[in-house]
Symmetry: C2
Subunit: 338 residues, 2 copies
């Protein structure tokens, strides 16, 4: 029996369990040139919230009653395709389900299944530090914001999949890092992975804490802001910018569920400080993935970057894992282990 | 008798006449190497509002009871300096007064008096289309936003000194232009100088009008937004952006007097559309002023760009002219004619 999660209804605000339904169908047989991937790890990511709305965006919305998609790692368990023999492990985009029949070609708007290179890292790292979240961190920090050795980087959601990778890359490259995370335990972990300071946004307003952290570190301001959350963090980063600061805007999880206006007090700083703000998406950097993989593998092997995952077990838990992203239930990358 | 305007007190919110005082002192004699400039035109500009607050910014605040500074054009009427003989006309930064003794050197943080080149244009153009506002328009549109032929440009305060120049440069370079201005009369003028459409922001909310203008012109969205006002215009531009739109942020006159937070509903568009937002200041482009002057003079001589000024007469009127900027009392560049 093949099982896959679909939307039962479109979430309004924060998604709830009742928005999802588990579809069951007999396992499809594999045809000529086809093979079956049995998934072992599924990714749930904040960007999926956008695809649950029925609006035009950079990716089409998920259909109601149709299996959702997302990053997954699995193993080939049946095969009529010599390129993908039984036992071969692949990274692909047919997540939210336990198994899928594939033909090795890229589905419309999707990507071809990629055989995992032998780097001696745990499989699930291909969904975290070596996958989309890791690439988002690396491209945003180095190719969008052009962060350089000696600069001050402020990163929100620093205990999340992307933010924790930003923190570690920045430290490996000789930058000063101030993170922000929710709760003392997460903040302690963010400092453990190298951040020079970490603000607890649940303990009080961001701006005075950010000013305090800069003072304690003897820094005048922020050179690079890596934004995963928007709202209050974005505004505080504007208020504390150095001249010619660069903002890489990767996500605004604060406002994905709640489209009410953001109250911004410091946008005028953009002018006098000549701040540059740029949005970006991981797929835009597809051509540079090999450069990212090579640099990241080097840092992992040198012990400069560690992957950390929060995994919920069994397919049944996929919606819980996804919903947990919005309350900060994860430290590091949120995954589902089948 | 030499007269100069100073701040009597720092404005709170919109400046009022009582914030200003006219200082009088006997004309200073000119010493060795010095010369007297008698001003004929003074510039008042929105950026001066920032210098009236007692806060660190890109320029130091005006002192209380000290002559303010700003762009001015004048004529040398006494001289002990062969470089600046009697009758020579100069552009300089000792505005807000009727005459000044200069030595031809740049004051701290200021600029050297520049002798007006012979381009056959009215003197006051050096404070408008060939001066700081014109340069701000040219650099922002072409060097910050990299606007190209065939693109759609949205410009706020399109009847103002900078915005009306943006409009005309963009049309001369083959772009489609949607302006925004306050009132039917200003909108008519913005169309007269070439805009394909002009929104009257006093007649209703900006966003539906911008969407309507794009529809009528058969355009999908905005490629370049030139921001002079911030707030609602900025948010509407985000909502109507094309992919990879560029925003040149030059001013936010909507919020200079009133530091209450701006309510922004569409900041998340930055991510999916990969919008690039950049603040800039005219002085950053000092090295490229000759390139700007040459290109602008060519467009003026070809009749593609016309300067328009709103001038108030006599030095007494300088504060009124300045205060009028915030209620839109000017069409084109606001000046004071002595």
């Amino acid at each position: 029996m093949a099982r896959a999660w679909a939307l039962k209804s479109r979430p309004e605000g924060t998604p709830v369990a009742d928005n999802f339904q588990l579809l069951e169908s007999p396992d499809a047989p594999i045809g000529d040139g086809e093979f079956r991937i049995s998934n072992s790890w599924l990714s749930v990511d904040p960007y999926m919230r956008g695809r649950m709305n029925d609006v035009k965006s950079y990716a089409p919305p998920f259909g109601i009653g149709e299996p959702m998609t997302g990053g997954a790692v699995g193993e080939v368990t049946e095969s009529n395709n010599a390129e993908y023999p039984v036992g071969c492990k692949v990274l692909h985009m047919e997540g939210w389900r336990d198994n899928v029949v594939a033909d090795g070609k890229a589905p419309e708007g999707g990507m071809q299944p990629v055989k995992l290179p032998e780097l001696g890292v745990p499989d699930q790292h291909w969904l975290s530090i070596l996958g989309m979240p890791g690439g988002t961190a690396w491209f945003g920090l180095l190719k969008v914001a052009h962060a350089k050795e000696g600069e001050v980087v402020f990163v929100s959601a620093a205990a999340g999949a992307v933010g924790s990778t930003v923190t570690q890359i920045a430290k490996a490259k000789g930058m000063t890092v101030i993170g922000s995370a929710g709760g003392a335990e997460k903040c302690a972990w963010v400092k453990e992975i190298g951040a020079d300071a970490c603000i607890d946004y649940k303990a009080g307003p961001v701006l005075p804490q950010l000013r305090g952290a800069l003072n304690e570190l003897g820094k005048t301001g922020v050179d690079v802001y890596f934004d995963n959350v928007g709202g209050e963090h974005f505004d505080a980063a504007l208020a504390c910018s150095n001249e010619r600061a660069r903002f890489a805007i990767c996500g605004m999880i604060d406002v994905y569920n709640d489209q009410k206006p953001q109250s911004m007090q410091y946008l005028t700083m953009i002018i006098g400080l000549r701040i540059k703000i740029e949005g970006f998406l991981y797929p835009d950097f597809a051509a540079q993935v090999p450069e990212f993989n090579a640099d990241m593998a080097k840092m992992i092997q040198a012990g400069q970057i560690q992957g950390r995952e929060t995994a919920m077990e069994t397919l049944e838990k996929a919606p819980d894992a996804f919903i947990g992203l919005f309350s900060g239930a994860n430290t590091g990358k949120m995954l589902v282990k089948l």
